[in-house]
Amino acid sequence: MIKKGDDKAMIDGDAEILFNHQVNHDTWLLGLKRSEPAVTMKPGQFVMIRVRSGMDPLLRRPFSVCAVEKDHFKVLYRRVGKGTEIMTQAKPGENFQVLGPLGEGFVLPEEERLPVLVGGGIGVAPLFFLARLLYRRNLEFMMGFRSAGDIIPFDELRLPNHRWSVSTDDGTAGHAGFVTDLLLLYLDKNRGLPLSLFACGPRPMLKKTAETAITYGIPCQVSLESAMACGFGVCQGCAVKTAPQESSAYHYVCRNGPVFPAEAIDWEAL
């Protein structure tokens, strides 16, 4: 079922930067303080950040919420272009204009199903938040990175009953190969176990995960990315093609998502 974002909770305002530190060669962790309680944010939801005032870059950048504390929330971001480069320069005490929380987050897994989180690269960000929320439960968290140096060193976040495994494309750490290989190995070893999949990462990885989940008949939620102008359902710029059985030709990543049931998306068109 595709829902609409709850825009009652959406707020636009200045958020003070509490910290902005580098965690590996191209990834930073940003702490943002807001006047209103951050606790209304749900895993899978995102915010639109204006990286600086002025006209270039013009549009805000979407980022998942990676963690929520009492008075602030965290964003884990990768430096990939102009906007994220500017973000790395921001100092504690300065402000970002932040719009959010936005979108539909993950639907929490049923009690009898073991959550399996599959993250590719910076796609692990919203999954950290989800894992934290499921701290009481056993879960599997699989993360794929290109190389050992890309691993996000958050070992201190690991909870005793959460099993983490890592893959690298070049084999420099963990399993050599893709994170979807880890997933397939796991599924083959654990046939018949009731599972619930949660995935975020590059589109080819999501596609493979979604197709695997559909083949194995496992419920699967994926968090998608798309270029965005508004972030709350106005510009209609973030369209993704829907699977044929859906009632509309396109879903909007910002409002109907970013989290979708795997079977709602037309993976061939993506």
Partner: protein, 306 residues
């Protein structure tokens, strides 16, 4: 200290607004989406997303790409269709104390007439804004607004079928915009708004493919402001009917430039994405400017270019 409140009331021919600040079509949804972020009552008017007779699902993605100080969009005029607008959106919009302008577009001239007819007498819709920048199916997809003769026929068709003020929104993708402006004035338009987006494209150098699914898109944002301003200046000298200027307005200073060259009102577009409160800030900024400069009525600024 005593601060007189300046009079921002704006008269656009038959259409009266409480102030000259309007939100542009396609950048403000159906208005209601902005309720948590903007005091809608503070606005002169809201122009809703371009409406067609039937719902339209739009172009294949990617639909937007950021460019220097602007963005390209190829949304494909996706909208819920007139019927759903009347049923699901308008009743709530009616409760808001502002003017609502329906932006309409057709795939052929008759569709414009049908839309105008369907909106005739509809309470809560205070004017029609006619988008002539969309592809004319009968002319191989060439935009209606490129040809003065066809733009005039669209205008005439709408005027004949409506009881509401008619705004014709011009395309900037022409050699001489004054020719189209005069043609639609002659065909009975009450007001002209300009400019719509400027056609452009962007290329991904790694894949060597267009960055937009539709190849071409419409450029908007600060990058187009100088072009928009020049066109408003030209049209203000070519026609007698009131003008609504737009293109890259980010704050009240930009808005003032449009008023000074001869627009009676302005529309705020892309800025609504960057700063959701932009439209309301422009109203506040204009008011403050008037106070600071001893301007009693906003109309004193219109066309005041020296």
């Amino acid at each position: 200290m005593f601060f007189p409140t300046p009079d921002l009331t704006t008269l656009l021919g038959p259409l009266e607004l409480k102030n000259p600040v309007i939100t542009a079509s396609g950048t403000f949804g159906y208005g209601l989406e902005y309720e948590p972020l903007v005091n809608l009552k503070a606005l002169g008017a809201i122009v809703v997303k371009g409406l067609s007779l039937k719902p339209i699902s739009g172009n294949p993605p990617p639909r937007i790409v950021e460019t220097a100080c602007g963005m390209l969009n190829a949304i494909g005029l996706a909208n819920i269709g007139l019927e759903a607008f009347l049923k699901d959106k308008l009743p709530r919009l009616r409760e808001i104390d502002t003017r609502v302008i329906a932006n309409i577009y057709g795939h052929h001239i008759e569709e414009y007439g049908e839309l105008a007819k369907a909106l005739k007498g509809v309470e809560g819709v205070h004017a029609l804004e006619v988008n002539v920048s969309c592809p004319n199916v009968e002319r191989g997809g060439m935009a209606f607004g490129i040809d003065p003769v066809i733009a005039a026929r669209v205008t005439e068709t709408v005027v004949r079928n409506t009881d509401k003020p008619v705004i014709v929104k011009l395309s900037p993708n022409v050699t001489d915009i004054t020719l189209v402006a005069k043609a639609v004035e002659g065909a009975g338009a009450d007001i002209i708004s300009l400019i719509n987006t400027i056609t452009g494209m962007a290329v991904d150098i790694e894949s060597r493919t267009p960055k937009l699914g539709n190849i071409f898109g419409g450029l908007s944002g600060p990058a187009i402001k100088p072009v928009a301003l020049r066109m408003v200046y030209q049209v203000a000298r070519a026609v007698k009917i009131p003008l609504i200027g737009m293109g890259g307005i980010m704050d009240y200073r930009d808005a003032l430039e449009f008023l000074i060259v001869g627009a009676q009102a302005v529309e705020i577009g892309t800025a609504n994405f960057v700063k959701p409160g932009a439209s309301q800030s422009v109203v506040e900024g204009l008011s403050k400017y008037c106070v600071d400069h001893g301007v009693k009525r906003i109309g004193e600024i219109v066309g005041s270019l020296k």
